[in-house]
Symmetry: C2
Subunit: 201 residues, 2 copies
Amino acid sequence: MNQRTQIRDPELTRARILEAAEALFVEQGFSAVKLSELARAAEVTKSLIHHHFGSKEQLWEAVKDRAFERYFTAQMAMLEEAGEPDAALLRSSVEAYFHFLRENPGVVRLFAWTHLEGDNHCSELDSQLVGAGAEWVRQTQLRGLLRADINPTHIIAVFVMTCTQWFEAKCHHQHWPGMGSDEAFLEDFLKIFMEGVTPRE
Amino acid sequence: MNQRTQIRDPELTRARILEAAEALFVEQGFSAVKLSELARAAEVTKSLIHHHFGSKEQLWEAVKDRAFERYFTAQMAMLEEAGEPDAALLRSSVEAYFHFLRENPGVVRLFAWTHLEGDNHCSELDSQLVGAGAEWVRQTQLRGLLRADINPTHIIAVFVMTCTQWFEAKCHHQHWPGMGSDEAFLEDFLKIFMEGVTPRE
DNA sequence: GCGCTAATTGACCGGCCGGCCAGTTAGCGC
DNA sequence: GCGCTAACTGGCCGGCCGGTCAATTAGCGC
């Protein structure tokens, strides 16, 4: 900003802008964020934001791309290290997904904002992920280790949506009477879910 | 707007503003809505909005209050007409809730926006609702008709969150490979859920 | 009918929004 | 070192945002 330390590092500048932008967009959503505020947060001039990203809209896209890229690679890694299909593995996948969301609350909110915008530019990536997961479920069904009378995609959807909503709407239902902690809820959800997808002997 | 039909009907005016505001807020969220646009949609001058509601913020509160009031009374009515506690009734309650959300997509989005804002000014009403539902579950558990090893509030939460997320994030997962229709998903969710909450004989 | 209240209008405002541009300068290739 | 590219600055802009206000008038109580 002022005359001190005139070192230039465009990579760092881009990173600083992206980081500050992600924080603000996650917090307030696209239209509530002001570029002036963002510039202050990133310790950068407003013009610099335009120089590196073109417009507020393009910056928003860049932020989403980066976050969903992270989400996608993390999930893909989890899927790939999954071993022999069986019910226990499904359980631990749900746990892993739940904990991933808990550790990445920003991603959850970013998802939520984009859902509300009707934006589905991340759905190619997500479809891949869900497709792979559903295929894994199908294999497990074929081995008789999961109920075969349920659409595999729906099995994935049920646990993904429950975990997502738990964190998206946390501010809302955390005050519900009798509601337990993250872990207590996950425990109870797994009781229902696992019992529901496992075949009766 | 112009000189024709100089009839005044403040109630109708308020209603027109509220209706247009709800539509826009539902669509775009609070900060993306412009009062000028809203005035045009409601066929009303901008000043009239301020006259009747004070400020954009207060109008937003009024819109939320009205919508949540509607939601609350509808749900309370459903709860009260519920009869003898048993598992079949839980099933039909889930179905009713799911169909209510499908018929009221605006409410779902309004909920979503307020969740993201961290606003929980509707939580007293909601807590009542959840409390009543959980109590009903507890009664059913005591009769041995539902598994007793699960927190009743969590049972409510699981189905509420799944239904909510289904509609909140519809634009997102409707393109997932293998995903079925509303009814097909509900069917599969109920298979999992009912099996999960029913005691093994 | 008369007068008072409040619904309604349209002109207007200060502020700030996203974006632009002319000018400066750091840093890299040569 | 030299020059060129692009990173970076600060001032600026048009537009429109939410909000105000004075003036007008419909409608209701009496």
